[in-house]
Amino acid sequence: MNKEIFREIKKELMYVGIIFIIFLIIFKIIYYKDPFLTSLRFVASLFWMFVLPGYFAMLYWKEKLNFTERLVIGIGLSAAVIGIASYYLGLIGLNIGYHGYILPAVIIAAGFLLSHYKKQ
């Protein structure tokens, strides 16, 4: 993977960061009765479970899809993968309490690696 692609990912992750802050503000406005830390952790959880894994999983299709579309579809993709994979991980004996940390991390790593080794 060349430096340009890394730079591009860095730039897009900055967008993700900005969207995170905007989401935090929106959540703080809508659910204003919650303490700030509750909103912060909840938005961070949504990003960790859906947005970041989705973003990295969709990197493979970076050339054909713009950032916003990848981000939105990525939410669906990570929700689908986590929802299904978690069921099976539970069946094979891994307590669901760990899935929220393992599955997003695996999807992020897999997405990154797939885009890295993608044939140009």
Partner: protein, 547 residues
């Protein structure tokens, strides 16, 4: 230095997302994500999903149904489509919120994202139409549709989100390895609420036929794409598919039947009022431009047809599909409005679409505008309250795992899935039995009772990988008997207050009669609920008499 440029489209989408959540669950949740008890749960089905998800969290997996959900059957396999429950539990762990908050939130979250996915489907055809169409999605919170959220039709709504993702896939079949999307999204519909998989299949067949007609040839690459996608989906769902086939396929075989009405609030096409005219125009315009508008047009039109499928056999499954009708059909309305206005304004600018979109949102949100379907503000703490929740939590934490609980009359107990929050096998008195006892002025030992629980899957247990027995069918007769001896139970629950004062008075009369025995004593009480413990189950615990 990375420069960030302001992109109006992104700002617009983020704002829409915020408005959607504010209208959807902001008001309904009392502007909180975190609640002390299941908040804004308006019907039994909502508790059904909440307790099942909580059961998965408690057990660590969905290998088995909690026995208190399936009438006390032990080792019943988990037989509901599991994806939404798992997501709710995982979000609960990561966010630190209770499952009852996270699973409910996710339904709104997925509906909001579904609107955005639809936006991108339409945008590939025309960005202006996409912008105008977007606010129509807010109508998922209009009239009867809001009950899809508040009454607990959560799996179908979440599955419809994945169905829209399948539509999106069909708009992007040109992407390298796009069959991955087909496989994963189709599998997700199946693992969330299976009927949407059937609808996805119907749509995909129509898409294949329409593409072949438009391109005047059968697309080999599309065929290959479908085959690969189907293989991925099959692998992903295989384990649950076996359960579905040999549990639901045996216990509740789907029979096609016509049903003109549904026992839940719903939406009819006429409820779109003025927008129905634009929808009709949108259908005509989209058929005229079908080559370019194939995916959004086909998705919308097929959802109209399937959503009306109750008239030709799909029964309640068709009504369920209407919960996201405003999202599915937004394209037709937006396209109708756009194309009609284009007859008047030749040089259309994106800013017009944004203004129109905001105006549409205002018209939908403002209740005073005539001839428009409207957003309906829903604010309710729901069936549960802090005092009942305190009693359920006490039962779940302080009673023995094998304890049996008997609930005397409570106003909220008719929505019986909420009783599963006791996490113990439970019975309850029937209202008719209670009325009969009051009318005859009798204190009894045996009451007309019911064993609430989820009987739909029959409490399935595995005999082999492809073979199941049904534990509910094998329960001893006395377990299912409509006459229950209250002296058998370890704990008896009484509400101190009820909408009918006579019920509450009778509850307290029975409770005080029971408490006369030295082996029965109160173990929990608050201003609403009293719980008695019977330390000698089976003994003659109450003197039967008239009062």
């Amino acid at each position: 230095m990375i420069q960030i440029k302001l992109d109006l489209e992104k700002v617009f989408l983020v704002l829409f997302f915020g408005v959607f959540l504010l209208l959807g669950n902001g008001f309904l949740f009392g502007h909180r994500l975190q609640h002390d008890y299941p908040y804004a749960y308006l019907a039994s089905d909502a508790f059904q999903h909440q307790t099942r998800a909580q059961g998965i969290k408690d057990a660590g997996s969905y290998k088995n149904e909690p026995s208190y959900i399936v009438m006390g059957v032990q080792n019943a396999v988990g037989y509901y489509p599991p994806a939404l429950y798992h997501l709710g539990v995982i979000l609960s762990y990561v966010s630190g919120l209770e499952v009852y908050d996270t699973i409910y939130f996710l339904v709104f979250f997925f509906a909001a994202v579904a609107s955005l996915v639809m936006y991108f489907i339409i945008k590939q055809f025309n960005k202006n139409v996409a912008l105008i169409s977007l606010p129509v999605s807010l109508l998922v919170f209009s009239g009867g549709l809001y009950t899809g959220f508040a009454w607990g039709h959560w799996p179908t709504i979440a599955s419809q989100f994945f169905l829209i993702c399948v539509f999106w896939y069909s708009s992007r079949t040109d992407l390298n390895k796009s069959y991955i999307f087909l496989g994963i999204f189709t599998a997700a519909t199946f693992m969330t609420h299976t009927s949407e998989t059937v609808f996805a299949a119907i749509y995909l067949v129509l898409f294949f036929i329409a593409s072949s007609i438009i391109n005047k040839k059968i697309g080999l690459s599309l065929t290959k794409n479908f085959i690969f996608g189907a293989i991925i989906a099959l692998i992903a769902v295989f384990h649950y598919l076996v359960i579905f086939r040999y549990v639901w396929g045996v216990r509740q075989t789907f029979e096609f039947a016509v049903s003109k009405t549904w026992d839940n609030p719903t939406m009819y096409l006429s409820d779109f009022k003025l927008l129905l005219l634009f929808m009709a125009a949108g259908i005509i315009f989209s058929l005229l431009s079908i080559r370019k508008s194939l995916v959004p047009a086909l998705a919308s039109i097929s959802m109209i047809i399937i959503g009306n499928g109750n008239y030709f056999g799909f029964r309640e499954k068709a009504f369920q599909l209407r919960f996201l009708w405003p999202v599915f059909l937004s394209f037709l309305i937006g396209f109708g409005i756009y194309q009609l206005l284009k007859f008047l304004i030749k040089e259309w600018k994106t800013s017009y679409s944004i203004v129109l979109s905001v105006a549409m949102a205002v018209l939908i949100i403002t209740p005073a505008v005539p001839l428009m379907p409207h957003y309906r503000l829903l604010e309710s703490s729901g069936l549960m309250d802090s005092l009942h929740w305190e009693s359920f939590s006490w039962l779940a934490k302080n009673t023995e795992k094998g304890a049996k609980i008997y609930f005397f009359y409570g106003d909220i107990y008719s929505q019986d899935a909420l009783l599963r929050n006791s996490k113990r096998m439970h019975y309850q008195i029937t209202p008719e039995g209670m009325v009969d006892a009051i009318q005859k002025k009798e204190i009894r030992r045996v009451y007309d009772s019911e064993l609430p629980g989820d009987g739909g899957g029959g409490g399935p247990y595995r005999k082999s990988f492809f073979s199941f027995g049904f534990g509910i069918d094998e329960l001893p007769k006395d377990v299912r008997s409509p006459k229950q001896d209250i002296c058998k139970f370890n704990y008896l629950v009484f509400d101190r207050a009820a909408s009918q004062q006579a019920f509450a008075q009778y509850n307290l009369l029975v409770a005080s009669e029971l408490a006369k025995k030295e082996y029965i004593h109160p173990v929990f009480e608050n201003n609403y609920v009293v719980i008695l413990k019977n330390n000698n189950p089976g003994a003659d615990c109450i003197e039967q008499r008239n009062f």
